[in-house]
Symmetry: D2
Subunit: 351 residues, 4 copies
């Protein structure tokens, strides 16, 4: 066990209410592969949150959710338009290409946010058999750079997608953080703005593990269980994942957990912004803080801070001489003391 | 929550010692993706059980373990020889073909056990560019039909494989059951008999979820972490799976849990064998009992027994007029009372 | 250049009328990728032969035709039922699995012919997410063993397929030989008996190279050009393949070429049948003769006959002590003298 | 048959010497799948041109050559760095991703030419299991934009590749045009500058169809025939493709054909450059001319010029108000009269 780390929101453990739900689910026998009451309740909870058309399928992890969702939405010659910074593009070891077989058409996006204009610039070759057919727009909400799409921004992307006979997918590994940040219900970021498919994240928001693919159109949901199985994402003792998702979505844990992470990131961002020699790279709108720091300060922090590692240098297409970008992520369990300790350490290293 | 079921060994929950390990792992922060001390200890435990050449990689589920292992062992034009009854062949929704890209060359095997003769019959077309190249022999230990390979039987398959420049893979979703049945150490079924790669099962033996791919040759292990990630089997909060595997393998829980399941299957098999009108289809050597029963008796049992479902009719290439094959699996938590209740019910329905 | 060979019907060259068509097509410029008048005429010829619903797509080779057709017909979790002797299964180096991603469910078929009963035995697991979903029945006409399906036999397979919401595909690398053998029009083997997709063979029937995928349902044809391109089967100077297919199908060359090959095989089969020590393994119904001969006679023939090789030993699941199965294929250009020379040589070696 | 077109170098037909070679190859029988003397001579010719380490494999088309070559060079988690304008990236309908399973890491390249600096900018994530591993650098020679790499420029890319344990692949669909342009032997663009694998183009340089994959390292060549077959690129009557390649490479046809195309492009480029209102977009170094013309002039030309189509508008990341980019390709059979007619028509439409 390590000290508090800002290295990732997956360095934290399971929220006590999640643990309690796992313990409660561990009584007696239950049918496998999702034919259990916990899973039934999770499916119902997704309908409550997102509307009756939402078909939820519990899966193991975020890459699995994304790849399975893309397999459901695309034909073999379809392509996915996404930001160059998308998890799909940089953090899934080519699984979208090798496992889902799709080509990604990426756009460099300021603050990690795709716009209709940027998306449209990648819609080319429609009807040309030599070209992949742009079919899916995929965005991360909140983004990989800690920013958040307004509902109207998502709606504009959905409108573009549907005008062009395309579909909108959200990588929602941190969807709860976005909703908490905007003060909206989950449905306002999904159903109400025309999203067609969602990878819903639980792991980064207090679960031990567990995500869900949520399909908003019956034609994609009809046979998705075959794709989930074939994509190696079908849990046999599914109740133990479903119980966690039930704990998250049955009350307001999703909001409390994400809200705390966001508030701590806000506190950290404000503290860093106040320091001479540190610069925020992106607005702090969810649970991530991206900041430029001089390399000696970063090296000092990495040596002296606890956490294994305390945080990561982060790749950037920008270059700032003598400085590097660092990423700091807050979790459901990050405390004000954790933030203040880090902020103090940064100040010391800068000073 | 349902009553005790013999429908599958994944209808049971988590063993108390496994649960305790998860709770203990839930303290503070830990690095993601396996860079945590629980995972390091699990890797060490596999080396203790299987020898220093064993490289273990924690994954989510059995299909994931199998598919990732086959991806590591085979070239794009390689084929896998396996029994027709293999989980790979009948229970993975075509993932070996679609995701790993391999062709399966199946053999009808009595009692689900491949022999060198049967395997050799599928080694054809070697060096012929029109044919897939047989490269991997894959067997399940214990088998899908509840039987067990003797160490010498595995050694003979390994010898054939290596003589023909092939590799031997074990789908060990129930490896512990086989070891418990034979009264041997795990290494006697793997390392000592020349196995090249292993899918090690935890879920069916008392874990909430969790398996491992164990690669015995450094050339396969070297870059396997890329394949695990790309095969969508890399857990971010891996400590929570590793802690469970540590609970299983750190002491003798693997043996106690599997041993109980085996003993209960033996008790159930003996009781069924003694009944007029019921016939065992295969020797009861691990935790599964396969029996032919008259259809009216089966229908009666399905109506009256608790469990959801209490058991499954099982496909068979044999046909017995008016009867069906049923599969009954025992778990780490099956009790003598559970067995006796079922045996009594069967007797009633037959009577 | 070698002497006449019975090793394969692809050892022969191009028919003079085919060559003439290539020469005639080589005038001036023409648009690429099928937007040329030769290709338009071939598409029209397929509609004339097979009906207005036939959408033909010119491709390079037979494996390409088969794999592209299967990609068009199947969903990612679909399986193909075919004879164990199918070209798909034994002669395409795993391309159906690796490139099309489908699982083949094979049946041992006497004389290489699938029956509804045999096909039905492989329809299992329907609706079960753990199992591939049987979706396509694929047969070769004429078969890999030189036999021919009657139209009624194909109709029965189509009826089964459609009853079970499946599709019927014909690997017609030698469809013309079957039609010539039965004295029927091509449509009687395709359109009139409910075939859904066809790989139409030209190469083995007098072309230099060239095949076509013919899709009988608009939902498969609509976007097939994307799949053809992605399956690497889109010729840029397509006119030179289309001109050959036009030569084949525009008049009765398809029938004359295949008819000659069939007659020569009939003559060869009759001669062999009359010999002591030689046994026909299958009825001679198209252009192939399969015969059991004593190994010394085979070795003698391989030494003394011209052709490189003159013929091939052929794998068989049967074993005849001291004998091997050989395959002898006749071509559009096989002459009576060629046949009689071979028959004489066999007699000599047996004598 | 259409009039002369500048729409593509695949609108031309077969060179008379190529046709003659096909006719000469059409005598008697020959073994299939490349076991014929024409193919043996082609393999030898590639060794003569490129050195004894060159292993050549005849294939059908350029996409097939590229995809099969990438399959030979890359591990499942490897990525290919290439210009955004690469044929691989924009003209192969996602086959590199779906069929070869590789991710393309593209760079915007002035004049379509990758530099070591641009390539290096895409080498990221090495050793990180979350990222694809950059493994292959692929360039087109001549480029998709009609420019040519100097041997030293290729050598610099090879040096970078080898320093980083990567490999250099050339898409040489127009390699002969580059060699003719530079006045060098083929080996000076391949062997002498460290290229590891080559897709060699014949179709655009006077063949009816036919390309070759040439592998310069024995470890890639050893089993490539399995990959060629599985990638659906194994011709049965291969002699008819090999005879064409023999005609091309056995004497100086490769140089004469490409040289004519280049000269005509040079003449056309010079004529266009001299016109008011037309601007060359890229240096004319091979057989392609890329020019910006006012849209009304383009529309006029498309209406009045023969050819079906006479040329194509071409996508560009640049935008010039009121103008479009057009691509004009010359062939082995383009004459000065063809060029002068087009140049005159352009002048008329501009005037």
């Amino acid at each position: 066990m390590s000290a508090h780390s800002f290295g990732s929101d997956n360095h934290s453990g399971g929220h006590p209410e999640v643990i309690e739900a796992v313990l409660a689910a561990n009584e007696g026998h239950a049918p496998g592969y999702g034919a259990d009451p916990w899973t039934a309740r999770v499916e119902e909870l997704f309908r409550e949150h997102l509307g009756p058309q939402a078909s939820a399928f519990v899966v193991f992890n975020g890459s699995g959710a994304n790849v399975a969702a893309l397999r459901a939405l695309g034909r073999p010659y379809d392509a996915v338009i996404c930001p160059a910074s998308a998890h799909l593009n940089v953090d899934e070891c080519g699984a979208p290409e090798r496992i889902a077989g799709v080509k990604l058409l990426t756009a460099e996006c300021p603050d990690g946010k795709l716009t209709p204009e940027l998306a449209e610039s990648r819609i080319t070759g429609v009807g040309d058999e030599h070209a992949v057919q742009p079919r899916i727009i995929s965005i991360s909400q909140s983004t990989e750079l800690g920013t958040v799409y307004e509902p109207s921004e998502i709606a504009a992307l959905a409108e573009l997608a549907h005008e062009r006979e395309m579909l909108l997918h959200i990588d929602g590994a941190r969807l709860c953080n976005a909703a908490a940040s905007l003060g909206v219900e989950l449905r306002e970021l999904v159903t109400d703005v025309g999203v067609d498919a969602l990878s819903f994240g639980g792991t980064k928001n207090g679960l031990l593990l567990g995500e869900a693919v949520v399909l908003m159109r019956p034609e994609h949901a009809a046979d998705f269980r075959f794709l989930r199985k074939q994509t190696l994402q079908l849990a046999s003792k599914m109740r133990f994942i479903s119980a966690q998702l039930e704990a998250l979505l049955g009350g307001d844990l999703w909001l409390r957990a994400a809200g705390n992470a966001n508030r701590m990131a806000g506190r950290l961002g404000a503290a860093i912004e106040a320091l001479d020699g540190a610069t925020l790279a992106h607005p702090v709108q969810a649970n991530g803080v991206f900041a430029w720091l001089p390399d000696p300060a970063i090296d000092g922090l990495l040596e002296t801070m606890p956490g294994d590692p305390p945080f990561h240098r982060w790749p950037s297409s920008e270059r700032v001489e003598g400085s590097s970008l660092i990423r700091l992520l807050c979790s459901w369990d990050t405390s004000e003391a954790d933030v203040d300790e880090l902020a103090g350490a940064i100040a010391d290293c800068l000073g």
